[in-house]
């Protein structure tokens, strides 16, 4: 178990973060170079004001028609994304490990609160799953890969929750949790999880086109 522990919490962490960062840069460079090769005119109407206006509306719950049309989905989506980032970044045990490795630390969530937020993320994932299965208009655009992506996102939270409570075989669950987190990091640049990078650009582009060209709102 020691060699497995040392491997997944040592070299594998570097590999995961390395692939994540390099992959993200690669995807962004490819995107920009493709746009400038195929449709360079897009740059001519990209506009900071319209971009920010669009992004501003879409990051505020209920600020767009689409958000208002699906209130439950909107709330779940926002809660999900907030917890998705809050929990891993401000989790005590993650900060403890970073502090031991590099003597860098920051404020942590109390474990009890982090536990509740973790359950929230898991509940949101279940909501997305049920919605995919039950709602015809979503099912229609669902690929098998969508379920895989959902599983990749849910896995670190489910295993983290079980490991924290030391249910079902502790050391193995700890290792699975670390691996699940690394898989998620590696998956971000190469799957639809890359919307983490591209959402801003998509909105900036849509906002500029609607604002500057079509003189309309994109929300």
């Amino acid at each position: 178990m020691h060699s497995v522990y040392s491997f997944v919490t040592g070299p594998m962490v570097w590999v995961a973060f390395g692939v994540f960062v390099a992959g993200c840069l690669f995807r962004l460079v490819v995107l920009l170079s493709q746009v400038s090769r195929k449709e360079p005119f897009i740059f001519s109407y990209m506009n900071l004001k319209w971009s920010l206006r669009s992004i501003g509306h879409w990051i505020v719950p209920f600020a767009t028609v689409n958000w208002r049309r699906h209130p439950v989905l909107t709330v779940v989506t926002f809660v999900f994304h907030i917890c998705l980032f809050l929990v891993p970044i401000f989790l005590l045990s993650h900060i403890v490990l970073v502090d031991e490795a590099w003597s860098i630390s920051w404020a942590a969530l109390p474990d009890g609160l982090a536990d509740a937020l973790t359950l929230t993320v898991i509940a949101c994932c279940l909501f997305f799953l049920v919605r995919r299965i039950r709602s015809p208009e979503v099912k229609f655009v669902t690929y098998p890969s969508d379920y895989v992506i959902l599983a990749i996102v849910a896995a670190p939270f489910v295993t983290g929750f079980l490991a924290y409570h030391q249910w079902f075989g502790y050391p193995v669950m700890f290792i699975l949790h670390v691996i699940a987190g690394e898989i998620m990091l590696i998956a971000i640049p190469f799957t639809r999880l890359s919307h983490m990078l591209f959402a801003v650009f998509t909105r900036a582009y849509m906002g500029s086109e609607f604002g500057g060209v079509r003189k309309a709102k994109d929300w």
Binding site: L92, E100, D111, F174
Partner: protein
């Protein structure tokens, strides 16, 4: 006569203290989390005597260490009459690790180096302490 009585009492008191201390470390099953303001985890398993026997540690100052003014470790001195918290504050101070980090670097550091003993959070911070039957597997 009076003098002899006083010294006898002092000696007895000294022995009692020593035995109390010895009993205390022999009875120790977890590290006391008292110094922490708002402990988040169950206290770490640590059966002082069994642990050091099983781990084959004979120098007390592997853990109960003493440093000189310049920050050099003193090989032939030890500080088992003090608690870690007497020197290690809750926060890091310069190169001296804060209390939690002092425990983690000391305990986990050795376990990693020797590839023996617990290294994952829940192997030390157990919600359900194992039955009182000697040191379990790491």
């Amino acid at each position: 006569m009076k003098k002899a009585a006083v010294s006898l009492i002092l000696i007895l008191a000294g022995c009692a203290l020593l035995m109390a201390a010895a009993a205390a470390q022999e009875d120790m099953v977890v590290v006391d989390p008292g110094p922490f303001e708002n402990p988040q985890r169950p206290p770490s398993t640590f059966r002082h005597e069994e642990h050091n026997l099983a781990a084959d540690i004979w120098e007390c100052n592997v853990c109960h260490h003493v440093y000189d003014e310049e920050g050099n470790l003193l090989d032939d001195e030890s500080s088992e009459d003090m608690r870690c918290v007497d020197c290690h504050f809750l926060e890091d101070t310069g190169t001296q690790p804060g209390l939690m980090k002092a425990f983690h670097l000391n305990c986990k550091g050795c376990h990693i180096k020797e590839a023996k003993g617990p290294v994952m959070c829940g192997e030390c911070h157990r919600w359900r302490q194992p039955a009182a039957d000697g040191p379990g597997a790491g």
